[in-house]
């Protein structure tokens, strides 16, 4: 990132100009790609969480009036904790399963960000950073595998 400093970094014109110059925008502006991935990933996650919350209250109208249900909801109890649980719950149109799916999307966003960084560094032929990024990605994948085996 050694191009001339822009007085207004937030302006979308910078990205458009790069495309018009016939150059690959992702090469010159990896920041924009990463920023978009983060934004859309978070948006997708929040949409799922919100949808799931609406479904939950729709299926459990007593949650709006009863205070007994809260006791049950905030004390220790089993929650879906495998991918299978979440998929099965979502298929049964359980609101909390949609919320959980949204939370899983949120957890996946940083992993996808690192994967995208890896592609960008490869495109820039930056060997050192390809190595660094690949190691970080490997550790993230390892953590999810170790968590599942735990």
């Amino acid at each position: 990132m050694s191009e001339a400093p822009k007085p207004e970094p937030r302006s979308p014109e910078a990205a458009t100009a790069a495309v018009q110059d016939g150059e690959d925008a992702s090469l010159l502006h990896p920041e924009l790609l990463i920023s978009d991935l983060l934004r859309y990933g978070v948006a997708a996650s929040l949409a799922l969480v919100t949808l799931g919350t609406v479904v939950t209250f729709f299926r459990h109208p007593d949650y709006l009036v009863s205070s007994e249900a809260l006791q049950r909801l905030t004390s220790p109890h089993p929650v879906p904790h495998t991918l299978g649980d979440v998929v099965a719950g979502a298929l049964a149109a359980r609101g909390q399963a949609f919320v959980m799916a949204g939370l899983l999307v949120m957890m996946a966003v940083p992993v996808m960000r690192v994967a995208l960084s890896l592609l960008i560094f490869r495109q820039q032929k930056d060997r050192l950073y390809v190595g660094i990024t690949a190691t970080v990605l490997a550790m993230l994948v390892l953590s999810f595998l170790l968590g599942a085996a735990h």
Partner: protein, 280 residues
């Protein structure tokens, strides 16, 4: 309190935590865990589970804006994530082995120490020259950012990358252990050890926190510590707050004020942690 009202209260607190967190470069988990457990009587295991997801939400939401504005140094972030993810992995597994009280005590001590160090540097604000570092040159860590309050592009040099790496391993371990972003440890590591400007340190910390938290979130999910009923509203609220903070406040906040606010929060959190470790 009905579940509906409970959810609204959680949502409200989460917006506040997200706002403050994005300004300070912390995930907001430090504010949320005491609120959820002490005020709303949520079981600690679910509070930690909700916190770790909210930490990813804050980081990703705020980082999207910081990266676009080229405030976050993505190369420094990538390099240091080597240490934070390794630390988070160790921490998530160590949390089962080490007693909770011991962790709180050590953590409280570290926080108080970083607050004092930052306070001292706030008084002696004269900028000393940054020593040259061959590894930092080799990794091309140096950068520049647009300073809104000065209306000019400020370039900076980075030093001591290995010291940063070591401190980040500690930050990652704490993050994995307690389910927090530990931005309060990441910011001083970059600001004080590696000599990045505070605004860049804050933005880069935010950018890194998501990856650190993701490394431990998998373990918490598999343990069944992430309850959608609590983590859902926390996640939405925190993202909203973080978006408001980074979008509308960050560029206008003066560095000195930001640092003073940060020191205040550090001291408060240190006190909370020490108290928790002291009393069973």
């Amino acid at each position: 309190m009905t579940p509906f009202l409970f959810m609204l209260v959680v949502l409200g607190f989460s917006v506040g935590a997200g706002l403050l967190g994005s300004l300070l470069g912390i995930g907001g988990g430090l504010i949320l865990i005491p609120v959820l457990t002490l005020l709303l009587k949520v079981d600690i295991q679910y509070a930690v589970g909700a916190s770790i997801v909210s930490v990813i939400a804050t980081s990703s939401g705020a980082a999207a804006a910081y990266v676009r504005d080229r405030m976050a140094n993505t190369r420094v972030a990538m390099f240091l994530e080597l240490a934070t993810t390794a630390g988070a992995l160790s921490g998530a597994f160590m949390s089962g082995l080490v007693g909770g009280r011991g962790v709180y005590l050590v953590f409280g001590g570290v926080m108080a120490w970083s607050a004092l160090v930052m306070l001292r540097r706030m008084r002696a604000s004269a900028e000393a020259p940054v020593p040259a570092d061959a590894l930092a040159d080799r990794l091309a860590l140096h950068g520049s950012y647009w300073d809104e309050s000065q209306s000019r592009e400020v370039s900076y040099r980075v030093t001591r990358p290995l010291a940063g790496l070591g401190l980040m391993y500690v930050a990652g371990t704490v993050s994995g252990m307690l389910g927090i972003g530990s931005g309060a440890l990441k910011v001083p590591a970059m600001d004080l050890a590696m000599r990045l400007p505070l605004k860049v340190s804050t933005a880069t910390s935010n950018f890194m926190i998501g990856v650190t938290a993701a490394a431990s979130a998998g373990v918490y999910f598999a343990r069944g510590n992430i309850d959608p009923f609590i983590a859902g509203p926390v996640c939405v609220g925190v993202t909203l707050g973080a978006w408001l903070g980074s979008r509308h406040l960050m560029a206008r906040v003066n560095s000195t004020w930001l640092r003073a606010l940060f020191v205040g929060v550090l001291l408060w959190v240190a006190f909370e942690m020490l108290r928790k470790g002291w009393a069973p």
